[in-house]
């Protein structure tokens, strides 16, 4: 669903492959020419608009560098897609438990750069928890490595965490080593109807989260999203269980005892990931986050506002306190502002907004002095994805 709404204009150079990317960065640094970093361009319309004359594309920089299944780690080039990683690891009975929203043919480089994760983050951690090592090229054109290829490592200062979620503004990620898990022998997905009242909803969420064993994922879906992906009825709590047969069976019994649980096909998770592609024009996507025990309250407040935007859908990862709202692209900004201003929601993150709305709603997430110093240290010429996190002084 690559839409070229926020992409580079006046493109004059496209580079592919690590050597040409390094050359391109060095050349761009000399001439202070802005560069747009791109994988398969799925995220090109996310984040603040970037006005860049050139693209550094990782699209052909793909493939496995090293994979020893017994180590449960894999090192891949940044242009490798999540789908490719999934196929390669599944053949060995393993997987990378990362399920960001959007198509699986997005690249691992973009997933790390944007720090994206999905429902599985509630038990396996976010992207930052799964990256063991990275190689990236700084705005000076230096090839830098952080972390390593082993599962535990505190050598040197943590460039891996720094680069993960930095949206390409500190360096172009060229390679990454990731932590893998063995595929569970059993999985099952259950849907439970969830009440509309704040107290009953929060209790229902808590009883799922506190049931014996840790579910792989627990995701709250509003009625509109439930219908879109084929679950009849009102809003739902979707629970993915995984593990050995005995554990899954016991967990299933425990969740079943909460009442109203129905078994779903596993494909339902993929349908959630792809829900944005059903929107006629690029949707507005925002995340509200709060303490886990305030999810139901924030959810209901947000739903009351979002319900007036026809076609809006919402889902939440309650254990992480994250509520994600996907709204039609033509939703009035006043409604978005009301969502962003919810009293019970301390943090708002926008993924996608119309170009002209960024300045008004979220001018910067890197405006503090330390972030500015980090940016200047790694990209002193300000050429890497300039402005995507906000203005650089």
């Amino acid at each position: 669903m690559a839409r070229d709404t926020g992409g580079p204009r006046n493109v004059t150079a496209v580079a592919e492959g690590i050597e040409t990317i390094r050359d391109l960065i060095e050349d761009s640094a000399k001439s202070s020419t802005a560069l747009r970093i791109a994988g398969r361009s799925h995220w090109i319309d996310a984040g603040r608009p970037v006005d860049a004359a050139r693209i550094a594309s990782l699209v052909t920089h793909t493939g496995v560098v090293d994979y020893v299944p017994g180590d449960l780690t894999i090192t891949v080039r940044a242009g490798t897609t999540l789908k490719e990683i999934d196929e390669i690891t599944r053949a060995e009975g393993q997987w990378l438990p990362v399920d960001p929203f959007g198509a699986r043919d997005g690249t691992i480089g973009a997933t790390i750069a944007t720090g994206s994760s999905g429902p599985l983050a509630s038990s396996f951690g976010r992207m930052r928890d799964l990256v063991l090592g990275v190689e990236f090229i700084t705005g000076h054109g230096k090839v830098v490595r952080g972390g390593g290829r082993v599962v535990k490592n505190v050598a040197g200062f943590d460039l891996v965490r720094l680069i993960t979620g930095s949206w390409g503004t500190l360096g172009v990620i060229t390679e990454a080593t990731l932590r893998l898990y063995s595929l569970p022998s059993d999985t099952v997905t259950l849907a439970l109807g969830a009440s509309d009242s704040v107290t009953a909803l929060q209790q229902r969420i808590n009883s799922v989260l506190q049931s014996p064993g840790i579910p792989f994922a627990v995701e709250l879906l509003d009625t509109a999203l439930s219908e879109k992906i084929g679950i009849a009825g009102k809003q739902q709590i979707l629970v993915k269980l995984g593990g050995n047969a005995a554990a899954v069976s016991a967990q299933r019994t425990a969740i079943g005892s909460l009442g109203g649980a129905r078994e779903m096909d596993e494909g339902i998770w993929e349908r959630i990931r792809l829900v944005e592609s059903s929107f006629a024009q690029t949707p507005i996507v925002m995340r509200l986050s709060c303490l886990p025990q305030r999810v139901a309250e924030t959810w209901n407040e947000a739903r009351a506002i979002a319900d007036s935007a026809a076609g809006a859908v919402m889902h939440a990862t309650p254990s992480l306190g994250i509520i994600r709202c996907v709204l039609p692209g033509n939703t009035p900004l006043s409604l978005i502002e009301r969502l962003a201003g919810l009293g019970s929601s301390p943090t708002v993150i926008f993924e996608r907004l119309p170009h002209d709305a960024w300045q008004r709603l979220s001018p910067s997430v890197a405006g503090d002095r330390i972030s500015q110093r980090v940016k200047n240290a790694f990209d002193p010429h300000g050429i890497l994805n300039p402005g995507i996190l906000g203005p650089i002084s």
Partner: protein
Amino acid sequence: MTASASDRPLIDKLEEIVTPRFVMQRESDLLVYNSDGLPGYRRMPRIAVFPGNRDEAVEVVRILAEHRIPFVPRGAGTGLSGGALADDVVLLGMHRLKRVISIDRDNLRAVVEPGVVNLHLNRTVAPLGLLYAPDPSSEAACTIGGNIAENAGGPHCLKYGVTLNHVLAMTVILPNGEIITLGNAEGEDPGYDLRGAFIGSEGCFGIALDITVKLTRKPAAVRTMLADFTSVDDAARVTSAIIASGIVPAALEFMDAPTIQVVESSVYAAGYPADAAAVLLIEVDGIAEGVDADRDKVRELCLAGGARNVKVAQNDAERARLWQGRKKAFGAMGRMAPHLVVQDAVIPRTRLAEVLGKIRQIADANHVVVCNVFHAGDGNLHPNIPYNADNPDEAERVHKSMGEIMRACVDAGGSITGEHGVGLDKIGYIELIFSPDSLDAMCKLREVFDPDRRANPGKVVPIHACQEWRATPAGRAT
């Protein structure tokens, strides 16, 4: 060298802030601070200062900034990399800031001061059915602030992750006295992951004044097993087999014969079979039905891989005893010799048998005794060599062995440290795994937080690796 007359104005100010009792300047007082968990390294601080609360800590850091004085933050001093040694500079001890500020049972969070002892936090939250997952072997003494500095791990990090994965937010004072918040205790944290960059920065980026940690619900069931082997290679191969099988044990620890023998002859005796070549201490946890299946599978893999016996702890007391031997193994080695070097390299888990074999060859060739006790599940080796540092010949052989072991681990695709940090001890090895450009990037990151490099000077990244320094007259002269 300790404090001189020229330090008087600074000492006066520090005494004003924390009272004279908590400013130390005499050699006899400072002696206890001249080493950390690695007694082979000794560095005498010039002055030691111990603020008693947050306001005092802030004032002390600001006075040091005003006087442009280098300092070394220190928690309990249990670190195993010489990272908390202050070489003729100010040692800033944070262990008096030990309040558990709040516990939020429902949202699984606790806010603590940096001097809170790891085990104290766990004992505080245990009655609520909760735990704080990182559990370094020094948990009974080490502080959460120190855990953050080192990104501490522990046996149960195999399943639950290290400190990095359990810290949500911190209030931090930078070396220049500025106070900032990193991370977000109540939601997502957009922008750069500065919290992630700070954790594991070994006291070089600043000092955490308060920390919001994530708590974990205690697993419903735990099964702890001890598998004993007559061959080290078999134990190593079984470790790889368990990991490859898909089970994620809560912990998977390895002890070899010299370790078993010293533990069994100490007050920490845990009932390990004294004639075993190696034992694996394996723990699985989760929902009862699931852990029983995992326990059976682990036992099967152990027996098929050559284990002589697999003993399953029948109750909490037996479980605690099995763990005591492992957690106190380092202490027990004190029986063998006055000093101990501890390594912390990490290797890919499929290379365990091979690298342990190389370590054995290196030990034999250098006539030293290596006690291996380590987190096998994540390939985090701890080859320990007890020795007498006052015997120059022995010290030389020990250090030669350590260098060779480190190179063998790096050659196997490993890292020089998994949880103890680089500090002083491994600074000579960091260039084995990072290029000059990577080290320079780390220098730049340090300078973001501490442009003057006053916090914990001389640790982690050697000064000659920093480009800016290379460009100075001092750098050009070398």
